[in-house]
Subunit: 260 residues, 2 copies
């Protein structure tokens, strides 16, 4: 959502008063079984998906069956998710580090008070190189349409043939979480699906996607070294710099096939 | 810091095995007076500045005099900051929302257990339009040099004449925090300084800059509507889309002057 605000434009030593479109940013506080989990700063759309996707990305929801209900109060910026499974919240943030002797810089995928470990994806699917390029062209076009204001990131879920869901948000994490939430709420299959994003691939984005269960992650931007390591470990085919007629595969390139 | 990793390049239906440079991403756990505050995922440089700047951005440190010492264990990714002033940590995240009747979507600048409210900057300084353009040209050149890998954001502190400190990081928040930490550690004056960033201006970046006390914030990207509102309220001159020969002023344009 965009809103009009007054702006002063300065160009070539000239000052003009004008109006400009800027993208909205609003707080959404997410509750899980009546316990406050987080306040996200986000775009004001698809809050049910964002709330569910955020919780799933943290490992606090794992299947559609666990979800007992989602309620959103759009006026006050609140979302309540009811779950049948009670998992303790990690109060100290997303990562619980293991700090023992000699493993100082390792991070576990588990959370405080939680024994879950994200499992490596095993997947026999392949993806055609031409499909990657065609999907990114479509994704970029759709993304450009949605960001007249230059202030949002986009994410999408796709099959090899087409984009199934497209979402944007001021936060690149939020955009990916909305896709994750939608998949969970609608029960979409993810096992051979492709996650597209406009944002850079950090380790946090990578783990969200691994948790979601999509084996292909494609970005027009760069991955970090940690994201590459985890993609290898977690079985995610990681594609970066997908622009024009080219892309780089940083992990699990064996799933990418050239067209005949 | 960048590291070399194997990559598979796909271009025009051809696959080539190659090596690529990707940017490092590592965890840094920050302690304040021996209490664990946060684990940041960041670039592995300038961790003393990042730790101090993060804490200051959260309102947990407010002046150089408060800092009793900073120690960094680079191998294990740990930073300890000792402060003379004991402030309770906000365990529920950055924002403490005020949810009363009729104020559902307001966010206070204060933190749980903390009475601090970020004060509006009052500042009589002006900034020449030509200086904004010259600084952004220099900043962009420096930023391009540092991001062969396409994976980092930059931030800088500048006077009207030149860039004083330049930092980059995989996170745009971290880059700004490093600048904030450097200012605090070195006791740099900030009252009439300019903060430059490559990233989008969200409300979180805006409040960091207001806390730091620099009255001018310049980005090549877009601000959100909430950032614009807070810039007006907190007395920050907010400049976006600073590219080539033009820029937009979203708040406190009265401080921008055209050259004679």
């Amino acid at each position: 959502m965009e809103i009009k605000i007054p702006v002063v434009r300065v160009k070539n030593a000239e000052i003009v008063e004008d109006v400009d479109l800027v993208t909205e940013e609003v707080p959404l506080t997410v509750y899980l079984n009546h316990e406050e989990v987080v306040t996200l700063l986000c775009s004001p759309e698809h809050w049910d998906e964002l709330a569910v996707g955020f919780l799933a990305g943290q490992g606090l929801l794992r299947s559609r069956e666990e979800i007992d209900g989602v309620e959103v109060d759009a006026r006050r910026g609140l979302a309540w998710v009811a779950s049948r499974v009670d998992r303790p919240l990690a109060r100290k943030g997303v990562f619980k580090r293991m700090l023992g002797s000699g493993c100082g810089s390792s991070i576990s995928f588990s959370f405080a008070g939680d024994n879950d470990v994200t499992r490596p994806l095993s997947c026999a699917s392949t993806l055609k190189a031409s499909a990657v390029l065609a999907l990114m062209t479509q994704f970029q076009r759709q993304s450009d349409n949605f960001r007249a204001t230059g202030g949002v990131h986009s994410a999408a879920l796709a099959t090899e043939e087409e984009i199934v869901v497209f979402r944007d948000d001021i936060g690149r994490h939020n955009a990916v979480d909305k896709i994750g939430g939608r998949c969970l709420l609608e029960g979409y299959p993810v096992q051979d699906r492709i996650l597209l994003t406009t944002g850079r691939i950090s380790s946090e984005i990578l783990t969200k996607v691994a948790r979601l269960g999509t084996p292909f992650l494609v970005s027009r931007s760069a991955p970090t070294a940690m994201a590459v390591n985890w993609a290898r470990e977690l079985g995610v085919t990681l594609i970066g710099f997908a622009r024009g007629h080219r892309f780089n595969v940083y992990a699990h390139a064996e799933r990418i096939i050239l067209d005949q």
